[in-house]
Symmetry: C2
Subunit: 202 residues, 2 copies
């Protein structure tokens, strides 16, 4: 692969396209689908930052290319900031969006509206392999809002149908992809990371 | 009812017997089964103390008798202290011990052993109706330990089969009721509250 190739540690095409839009044309972006033998990296960190770094380090080491990874989740006030790093497996099975969302709504049934504040948080890490010591960056983005009790909207994924960002009457599942990118935790984190990506020798 | 009767805000016979053992013979203890019309009190508080007080106040007002209520739960380090006040409805339905325990174990699948520290916490509240201003006390008890990944023991209830108190090789579900009372969060909270109960004019 050419020297200006960047690996994004995901098999999610939506994330690939989102980062590609933010970075523009100069960087060739490939996902993990291009590396069938890439290791599975368990997200064992206590924080989003730790998990993003774990994944970016693992894939930079495996591919010998600069690697970007992100970890994100929903932090609910009434749950002391959980589901947090466990957002994707909140109902027990990894990636079952419907079960995760349903469980969260059931858990807050008796929680007063005043404690339904929540925020989406994303940490994005860039690891550039180098002879000897890899160089590493990690940034975070967040969007504050609140849970609603009945899902609305067909866009997005995960908890988007029950999250209403501050200042909007729409859930993030009711926004267009562009409108969501503009305010989303992942959009903010990727934009904050972009200067390090485009400015980094590869 | 006689003047030395105390209401314990529970329909759980195990809790009634536990408090009776701690208080001794002088106090006549009745549960909510003696008050079929007693209101349902949603546990909407953000803390164990708030919920215990909510319930004790409601039942003291309803019965016009001194009332004790407790709220308790399991606080897990890796979950920022949750399930906490949501312990009894963690899997979404109130009181489904098996589902709650199974969900918690599934959630911590990728969490390293080093972050499986946990504690059981109990807040116990006493509210004594009085002309005008009711008198109120609330105390807490806790027992520190850690989660194990496979349930052990048939005693206790709730999360007991996966909680191993510090200094013991047994889970609280493997202990005799007396041994558990001696160290448990509820035992400690009830014993801390007992002097206020027996010393309070009724």
């Amino acid at each position: 692969m050419s020297a200006d190739t960047l690996v994004l540690a995901t098999r999610n095409q939506g994330k690939l396209h989102e980062l590609a839009r933010i970075l523009g044309q100069e960087i060739r972006l490939v996902g993990l689908d291009a590396f069938p033998g890439a290791p599975d990296v368990p997200e064992t960190g206590a924080t989003f930052e730790a998990n993003a770094l774990l994944k970016a380090r693992a894939f930079a080491a495996y591919t010998e290319l600069p690697a970007v990874a992100d970890d994100s989740g929903l932090c609910v006030d009434a749950l002391n900031g959980m589901p947090g790093v466990l957002s994707a497996r909140w109902a027990g099975q990894h990636g079952d969006d419907k079960a995760n969302l349903g469980l969260l709504l059931a858990q807050v049934t008796d929680v007063p509206d005043t404690r339904l504040g929540a925020r989406f948080v994303c940490a994005a890490a860039l690891v550039v392999p180098d002879d000897g010591i890899p160089r590493e960056w990690v940034v975070t983005g967040e969007v504050k809002g609140r849970l609603i009790r009945a899902p609305r909207g067909a866009g997005g994924f995960g908890y988007d149908p029950i999250f209403q960002p501050d200042g909007f009457d729409l859930t993030t599942a009711e926004m267009t992809p562009d409108a969501k990118d503009a305010i989303s935790h992942r959009g903010r984190a990727f934009r904050a990371l972009a200067p390090f990506i485009t400015g980094s020798p590869t």
